[in-house]
Symmetry: C2
Subunit: 445 residues, 2 copies
Amino acid sequence: MNPLTSPLLTDLYQLTMLEAYLREGMEEKAVFEFYIRNLPKNRGFLVAAGLESVLSYLEGLAFTDEEIAWLASTDRFSKRLLDYLRSLRFMGDVYAMPEGTIFFENEPLIRVEAPIALAQLVETRIINFLHFETSIASKAARCVIAAGEKVILVDFGLRRAHGAEAGILAARASCIAGFAGSATVIAGCLYGIPLFGTMAHSYIEAHGEEENAFIAYGRANPGNVTLLIDTYDTIRGAHRAADAALALRKEGIATRAVRIDSGDILGLSKEVRKVLDGKGLEDVHIFVSGNIDEYAIRDLLSQGAPIDGFGVGTKLDTSEDAPYLECAYKLMEYAGKPRMKKSRGKATMPGRKQVFRRFDNGVMSGDTLTVENDPQEGVPLIGKVMEKGVRLSPASSLKDIAAYTKEQYKTLPESLKNLSMDPSCPVRISSILLRLQEETAAAIS
Amino acid sequence: MNPLTSPLLTDLYQLTMLEAYLREGMEEKAVFEFYIRNLPKNRGFLVAAGLESVLSYLEGLAFTDEEIAWLASTDRFSKRLLDYLRSLRFMGDVYAMPEGTIFFENEPLIRVEAPIALAQLVETRIINFLHFETSIASKAARCVIAAGEKVILVDFGLRRAHGAEAGILAARASCIAGFAGSATVIAGCLYGIPLFGTMAHSYIEAHGEEENAFIAYGRANPGNVTLLIDTYDTIRGAHRAADAALALRKEGIATRAVRIDSGDILGLSKEVRKVLDGKGLEDVHIFVSGNIDEYAIRDLLSQGAPIDGFGVGTKLDTSEDAPYLECAYKLMEYAGKPRMKKSRGKATMPGRKQVFRRFDNGVMSGDTLTVENDPQEGVPLIGKVMEKGVRLSPASSLKDIAAYTKEQYKTLPESLKNLSMDPSCPVRISSILLRLQEETAAAIS
């Protein structure tokens, strides 16, 4: 069993509801939508990510004999359910915004249309992918906007990501948002993400002397020399790195950068720059890591820190200031009738939806959320991506998605790029959708 | 390739450092320790978890031909390194605190002793496991302490966990800490964790009428009936659930509980209790979910909310108020000599360490952190668990670990159980360890 693709990656209640649906013969089409209820504090916008994971999961959805046997061994489920699961494949339709699309609260990222048992079973994993990948792409987008065009960003987060899959998906999501690459080796293997790496403090410590360690590292990795200078004393380390870089240069080995991982980064980066320049090493970059997020990037660069790149780790891969999003995958229609939930604070808007985005001189001026087939001013954001379980087009390359995301940033009004704003949602709900909500609510006794 | 067990789940710099170590012939024994630098805000203690994952990973560590071929295809690595990796197995020794042990800052959870290349390569995944599982076990422990003995807790977090592995490991870590079980089906399959589940709002919505939905669900799942009552109006839902429970009772089907997922939980739970009791359903429990964490559990129960169980989801599986820990895996000794890092705010304490815990009438009265082989008052917490790559004893059952954790809670002084305290670290550093740190620092030029 592969835990990452197993259909057992679901909640027990999905299976107990299936028992009931099958027993009752309820097999009409259900329409579910995934959306974010509210943007977290400080987030002016979100960046859609996770669709590729969802489509791969749906394409491969199948129970193995081993999984069916385990379900049977629990004595919880009927033979009817086990037989149903044994032959189950995802045969539904999916509509979605492309990955990299900027979006706001209440706007569906994805719509799933399938017989209710099927659309229900996949809920848990669909949320699991879209919630996390969108969280990380959105956090990473803020770092990219703070860094500007000239400073490169690299994902350093695997070690403190929440498990292996989080680290892998974070490498991909940050790449979508404009990161240059990741330190996570397996992300290079799985997604072709460019890999970056330096050295650890332990490497220096094991050598004892810094300069020897630098030179040995350069000789062993002549194509990729970044020297970590803060193990003992950062300025002394900078001098030794400079001397090592000059020695390596004589052997034909270029030093790409030095890395600072602790201390007063603003002051140290300026001093280190002077040390390097003073020895004719203007081409050696300064790379910074340690507790970095979009706020640190903004503050350091706005104060003139001469930093050429950042390793962004923990705070990116955990989306530290917003470790979760208020998201939901909700039933919007069943058997051709709109459905809704009226729970306090969690009421839904029924029906199949579309989002139209208006632009003013290339800058977005507002969205309209409405029902499908209600044309509004602007460009529709949601399109069909899967029909009867089959993708309508091959997966886009990461490079193409990242290029699309970059174009999306250009459409953002300045106000939404502010890193410390309270979100002011630019989404208007159409009158036809509001009326549908009222009517549906009124029909519920 | 299985991404969850792949040795490519590492940082690029581990491989580039290996290049240098191999080139230099540096193959002496390294000693690394994993510890938490500072406890996060509001955490009085942490609960060790993740050791089982680490030992399984180390036991299975091996590169496949496919992985070696991919590394070769990047043109980054020498034939020497690829040959080394091809035959690599973990042959080191591991010392650790048992899972479920309560611990504090600077205390090593694990010590790895192996040739430096090997001990270095495994750093990323070791941190990835210990950091996350300890975060979740510690968060879950707070929920368990807040809930007391009579209220059951269930992990509902998979959907908003950071990826699949996070959801799976969170189910296990919360079970260690005293949760009754999880909704995550695959965690039942992989770890034998008891599974719990109710129904979703979509199930009610698809039926339209609540009472029909309740009865159909009960008939389909006679052994496991919990009815969700807040889809439209919670009190009306409670009346309908009560009527359904009475109807089901006539068919020999017992209703275990009703679930409330939104609104003013304190007031609603009291009203719902009255509705149920008024119809002779004193044995039907009230189960609550939605935005639950240790603070909500404490506040609701201390105000007399008649709640029998909680589903704890997002805030548990993301450790929402402390989504990461300031942890490190650091070189403490190489080739028989103590090593240390002096970086500002991140200096390490060199040498192999042991922790002794003192008790006063069964309650812990303080820890001493010292070097190995320096007996102190109290009980040593760290023992050898793996020798030359082989475990010294089979994995403990989850039940046994949970029982051990429960005993650990009994040793906690009241002050450390407070959910909203600033951590006051009860760890004393021995004079012999302080002297070793001074001497090691002085020897670094």
